[in-house]
Each structure stands twice: as C-alpha cells, then as structure tokens.
Symmetry: C2
Subunit: 251 residues, 2 copies
Amino acid sequence: MSNSVKRTFMLLELLGNADQGLGVSTLAQQSQLPVGTTHRLLNTLKQLGYVEQDRETHKYTLGLRFLNLRGAIINQLNLAAVAMPVMKELMQRVNETVHLAVFNEGEIVYIERVEGLQTQGMYTRIGKRAPAHSTALGKTMLAYMSEAVVHQVVERRGLPRFSPTTITTLPELVRELEAIRLRGYALDNGETGEPVRCVAAPVRDYTGQVIAAISISGPKERMHPSRDAELGEAVCRAAKLISARLGYFQY
Amino acid sequence: MSNSVKRTFMLLELLGNADQGLGVSTLAQQSQLPVGTTHRLLNTLKQLGYVEQDRETHKYTLGLRFLNLRGAIINQLNLAAVAMPVMKELMQRVNETVHLAVFNEGEIVYIERVEGLQTQGMYTRIGKRAPAHSTALGKTMLAYMSEAVVHQVVERRGLPRFSPTTITTLPELVRELEAIRLRGYALDNGETGEPVRCVAAPVRDYTGQVIAAISISGPKERMHPSRDAELGEAVCRAAKLISARLGYFQY
DNA sequence: AAAACGTTTTCCATTTTATGGAAAATGCGA
DNA sequence: TCGCATTTTCCATAAAATGGAAAACGTTTT
C-alpha cells in the first residue's frame, strides 16, 4: 500500500481533529514521522491547496478545498436530494429541527439538516459523527439491523456512558431495540447528556434495507413526552415517504 | 513534490465531480494514468476508507471518512456560528434562500445555507466553489479588496463568460465594483447563466477586513428588479449585524 | 455452450521517488 | 546579543511507486 499516501492521510486526520493550526514539529511528533518527511508531505498538500499555512505562525490547517469533496459525498448519496423536501415539510409541521443521518463504521453521520425557525444556539454540524447507542437516530437504525451487526458495533465501539440514562449493557440495548421495533420510532431521553430530546424513524432503500434515519429534535422544554406520540407518528410518516421515493414498497 | 499524493488527489477530485461511481478504467482514462497505477492508488484509498467500492459493480465512490476531515472549517466555524441566526432571520423576512460564502484562492466558497421554504429543486451545495466575477457574492467581496488583489485574481482566473451578461473585461469589472461600493450591495443579473437572481453584501471582521459575504437568492420570477432596493437594504442590514457581532465597529 | 470482449486485479523487474538524518535558516524570547 | 525551538533545505541511500503485461473475472454475442 502506498506509503506516502497513507502517511499523508495520517497528517490530514491529525489536522482534521485539531481545532487550531498545528506546526510541523507537532505533527511530526503526533504522527511519529521524521520532521523532514512531515514537512515535505505538508508542502505537497499546500501546493495542491488541501492544506493552508498561516503566514504569521507557519501553522497548518486543512484547506477549503476539502469542503468541496465533502459536499460531493453528501451530494452523491442522492438520499439527501430526495429527503430534503420531505424534511422541510416535516419541519414546518412540527416547527423543530429535522436531521438526516446515515450509518457508517458503527457510528452515525449527520448528512443534512433543516433548522426549526425557533431553534437557536448550538447546531449539529453536517458531517459530525456520533455513537449509535446514545442517539435516537442511531438506535432506530440499529433496531432494524441484524443482531450480528449490533453485536459487532458494540464490540468495536463499546457502550460508553454520557449521562445517567445512557444504555451501557448489551441486554439493555437489545431490549430497547425491541421496544423501538414495536413502537416504530426511537426516542432519545438525554442519553447524550445534552438538554435535547429526539424522535427518530428509519429510512429504507428499494431493497428494504435501512440506510438512514431522520429525527425531530428540540430543547427538552418544548419536546415534552406528551408530544411523543404525535411527533413519533409525524417522523414515521416522513421517513416512510422518503423510503417510498427511494423505491421501497411496503407490503 | 510527492507524485503519488498528487495523483491520488487527482483521482479523488474526479470521483468528487462524478455523480455516480466510476470504474478503474474510466478513472485511468480521465486521469491519464496507467491502469495498474490507478488501481493501486484506489486500493490504498479504499483500505484507508476514503473511497468505497460497490460490491456489485466494482465502481468507486468517495467514502464517508472524508466527513472526518472537518478541521478545514474550524476557521470558518465561528463565522458560521455567528452568521447562522442572522441568516435565519433574514430568510424569514424575505422568504428566500440565504447563503454565506468566503473568498479563497481567487474564488468564492459556499460555507453555509439557510433554505427558503418555498425554494425547491437544485440547491448550491456547501463547499461548492464558483468564480468571483460572475456572482453577486464574489463581486461584493472584490469590491472591498485592494485593486492589486483584484488584478491578481483576474490574472490568475481570467474572466470566463457564462452568459451574455457576464463581465469579461477588467475595465468593466472595475466600473461594476465602483457601482457596488456606491450602492452598498451587489446584484447578480444572471451572469452565471442560471435563472436565478442574487443580492449580496459584505461581512467584515473586527479588523474591518472583508472576510465573507451573504446573499439572498431566488428564481428570477420572484426576485423582480423592483424588489432590489428592499432586498439590498435587508441584506446590508444583516451583513452589518454579522460584522458587528464579529467585533467590527463602524464609525 | 463457447467465444470474444471489456474490466478489474495481480504481478514483478526497473527506476524513479520518497526517505530521514543532519545541517542551515529562521523566528522568538530572554 | 545570545540561545533555544521550529521551520526549511539538502542529499546519499533505500525503499516504494511505477506501468506494462498477463491473469482472472463477468458480461454479452455468436
């Protein structure tokens, strides 16, 4: 396997995880690469526009060229194009933020968002990853995957605790997934530790496989449990509509 | 400069521009690389998770792993966080899509978007790049940059024509930028060739430098020239509010 | 069924290219 | 001004990328 390519992406990942610029020596240390090599690879990336170097501090950050590739990915899942109109309509009905996420490598990845008009403050960035077991989006996808896959995910990622309500054992998770299948939609009860509640439902492609999920989320005050049934039904209807437009036919 | 790294990104860009998976031979042809080399590079990327290969068709697409590389946006993150609430309010006032873009390497890059509820169909994807001279967003940023920078941009990127109204000569551009400074906002009159009209205004950081711009855009039918003054004023007010929140103080 | 074709994948001798240690240049703070 | 930390340059060496060709695979045609 191309060594330089592998090393290049190692550097890019380090830059991608940092929330400020990193210098050559720092990167060399973190990547365990020699300084000379690190510098040369960064220089190549800089010339190509994939990293930028601050004139003053000489530190490196990822370049905006990456935004292009990121956008392309989301675009290629023509899932987003199909889902957006439905999500927009759902948002207008319930007046809360609607998210679309897919499952990837045992985690969920946020793909699209339609923000509720009264929502303010923190918003989930497109491209953000989150654990599956502690989000309504993740749980609703897990609920319709094979038991083997669920086991694999748990083995690979574990069940880390983020709040008192987080599910941290496999039997608990299995029971929760069963409940979700019966109910048809998943609930999030502050398992992430944030003051937010979510209701989520699965999206299927033409083969019937669950490939994504959509959710309604909002601050705890507005997302009262008394609205669960109403919101759950709304999110299910929207998810089914998206599935149908992807070619899924429910018998 | 690392040849294999350069070639790798060439392949990635090709995959990003395609709107469906591409095979080894197609990619080899488009990149002018030998098939063996192409295959090996793709295989490396596949192992790293940056491209995915369809089991059935063997075609390659960009992998979701790219969504990890978010550092790029960190610099723009604060900007986006500050701008979003203002953009949302602006969208609600005018009921059309609002965009946020920055200037990078002589082009504009779309950073955020708040979609108008009545908007449908094609939308500008986040991360997309576009020429500065043919968009209201680009022109409004150019208008407040030094003449030297404008000349550099024209030299580097040229003034390609996309429609009969595109500005294609430097004097024309200079005159247009002057008009924008007088007016306070920029207009787009189908210079890109799309049936869309835009109104854009510049955003400044605490140093007073123009670092971004926001725009209102919609289909020609709804964005009638008679609304220019009203929309221009609205977009200016929003841009100034964002600037103020970034620490810019106007004397 | 077999053959012909287009693709993907593997292989390997060749040589280009990356490598990394060290030294030079630069920047920064005392 | 000096000294430390960091970035940048350099170059002989070694390793990795290269690419042409053949093999494997899958699909369509005869």
